[in-house]
Amino acid sequence: MSVFQQVLIGPLKDIGSNPAFFGEVVIGGILAGMLYSLVALGFVLIFKASGVFNFAQGVMVLFAALTLVGLIERGAGVWVALAATALVMIVLAFAIERAVLRPLVNQPQIILFMATIGLNFFLEGFGEMLWGANVKKLDVGIPDRSFMAAGMQINQLELSAGGIAAILVVVLAIFFQKTRIGRALRAVADDHEAALSIGIPLKTIWVVVWSVAGLVAIVAGIMWGAKSGVQFSLSLIALKALPVLILGGFESVPGAIVGGLIIGVGEKIGEVYWGPLVGGAIENWFAYVLALAFLLIRPQGLFGEKIIERV
């Protein structure tokens, strides 16, 4: 009875007694979730178009942030540095297509996945060699102050992160739905061979998706970097994006967003209200267990395509 009360009643009573604080926790969770979504979005884009599970997405975030900070430190203006970083990520996309993807065409997915793990290590060493490994402060002029609204403390930085993530999603949606390249991307995602047969160049498409994923990585890198400094641990958020993907489904852009929000909010609420019962720090694994429990009920994720198997 007391265990039941501790686990179920106690935390709920806490929530009820201080709704403003609960609101703060939820908003904090939503904003953290937005950032997870940004990373997950990069995964989804590449997976949709090429079926490659890009483990290096987290390091691409780190690499983009490192490049941006390095350029700003060397006296470049914020916008110049941004443009240069974007260019670097596009060049990187070309290099990856040429050096990694093209020789591995027609290999099983698992081999490509391993290749991106190798890429992960390579980029990590490369980025740190170019720009140094110490923690850097990233400041692109986003205000980082807190204000009160309806009795809740809200951080401006987190708010603008949410805003930018929302804008990015809208832009991506328009890009996918309305432009010529976006249509080609969707065609490739649907059926490689059919897309090839009507004359869509697969290689160009790959470069485009990896570039777009690189640009998304820049945005994610700016947000995370402004929040907690540019450092190696940035690449670890890639691991946090994995449960997000599982929840949302590997093929779905809206899934990445919704999954990120669920994981972000669930993680924060779990940590604040249930964490103390088991000694805290459950944020590390809570997302995975949540995703795991979810997988048992719906193996293809919230928005994933139903898996139909044939022999």
Partner: protein
């Protein structure tokens, strides 16, 4: 010429089904095993034993375990570090709770505990597969490490949170603890690896291994011809975790001496996975080759600049090491997706005809 099996006729079924059907292989393996037991103990110095050979053997055992699961049964796992931690912590608990228990028995029992945990975390594999399963095994990795960090019982409430290997003897020779000689620890590790490699080799060519491969290649078809997926997959998780658990216990007891959970973090999982990929998925020999490669490359990379008179700063050397490491993984995947074991097979084919290839 060297590898020509002409003239080696098999007149019994037993001979036809031998582990090493070719005479040259039998001689080579026998020589290698005897050599591995005798030569390093006599001639290798402390540094070689401690820095190269002991970690190589332990990683080889872990890679063997993961190879059974990922290479043979096709279930991708990123939870190896967690399962190794289970082995290490249960060995520590068993050794401190029952001081009279033989250390070999402690290792085997801790392997069993790891197998049990592996089965629990293998249950999702019945419904999910591929990348989804890989992420699910990450849950095992993070949850187990967190558990060992948080619950003081696992470390006997040591304030430092570390587990240390108690001194224990086998046949009157000290093999674990601070006073154990490197040679003795080497022989202990080697004995374990030799026995378990033999068991693995026999497992994968028997009924169990074949049902694993059937599940790996096409699970629905395997089910139709009568392979039970539930039993087969869970058995793969159990045996793989058993191997990993023993490797984890050895890692602390025979190699590190003392460790905390940091030694078993996600990087260890990736390291063992690389050994399996670079060595060759679905190959017992590949596990050894991959482990040797991963153990030797960092040592090579740290020593080469010194010998040519180049003094790189530590940070730079570390970064270059990462780059070369990543580059090599890419290189091997592109050139030979089947790993070092496949290269060895090609060499063998060449050696059959050498020196008259036409």
């Amino acid at each position: 010429m060297i590898y020509r099996e002409a003239g080696q006729f098999k007149t019994t079924y037993a001979a036809d089904q031998a582990i090493f059907p070719i005479l040259q292989d039998r001689i080579f393996v026998a020589l290698a095993v005897v050599g591995a037991f005798v030569i390093p103990v006599r001639f290798a110095n402390e540094y070689w034993l401690q820095a190269v050979l002991i970690p190589f053997l332990i990683y080889a055992l872990a890679a063997l375990g993961l190879n059974l699961l990922t290479g043979y049964a096709g279930q991708l796992s990123l939870g190896t570090g967690g399962f190794m931690a289970v082995g290490a912590y249960s060995a520590f608990k068993l050794a401190s709770a029952f001081p009279a228990l033989n250390i070999v028995l402690v290792f085997l029992l801790s392997g069993l505990v790891a197998a049990l945990v592996g089965v629990v975390f293998g249950i999702p594999s019945l419904r999910i597969k591929g990348f989804y399963l890989a992420v699910a095994t990450l849950a095992a990795q993070f949850f187990l490490i967190w558990l060992f960090n948080k619950v003081g019982w696992f470390v006997n409430y040591a304030p430092s949170g570390t587990i240390t290997a108690p001194p224990r003897t086998v046949f009157g020779v000290m093999v674990t603890g601070p006073d154990a000689a490197a040679g003795a620890r080497y022989v202990a590790a080697l004995a374990f690896v030799a026995v378990f490699a033999l068991i693995a080799k026999n497992l994968v060519r028997g009924r169990v291994g074949r049902s694993w491969m059937a599940i790996r290649d096409r699970d629905i078809a395997a089910e139709i011809i009568g392979v039970r997926p539930l039993r087969t997959k869970l058995l793969a998780f159990a045996i793989s975790s058993f191997y990993c658990g023993i490797a984890g216990a050895e890692l602390v007891f025979l190699y590190l001496g003392s460790a905390e959970t940091l030694a078993f973090d996600i990087n260890l999982s990736f390291l063992v996975l690389f050994m399996v990929i670079i060595g060759g998925l679905g190959s017992v020999l590949g596990s050894f080759l991959g482990a040797a490669f991963i153990v030797l490359v960092p040592i090579f990379l740290t020593n080469v600049p010194h010998t040519v008179g180049l003094n790189l700063p530590v940070a730079l050397a570390k970064q270059i090491e990462l780059m070369i490491f990543g580059g090599l993984i890419l290189f091997f995947l592109i050139v030979e997706p089947h790993g070092l074991a496949r290269l060895w097979q090609i060499t063998k084919e060449k050696l059959r005809l050498w020196p008259f290839p036409h």
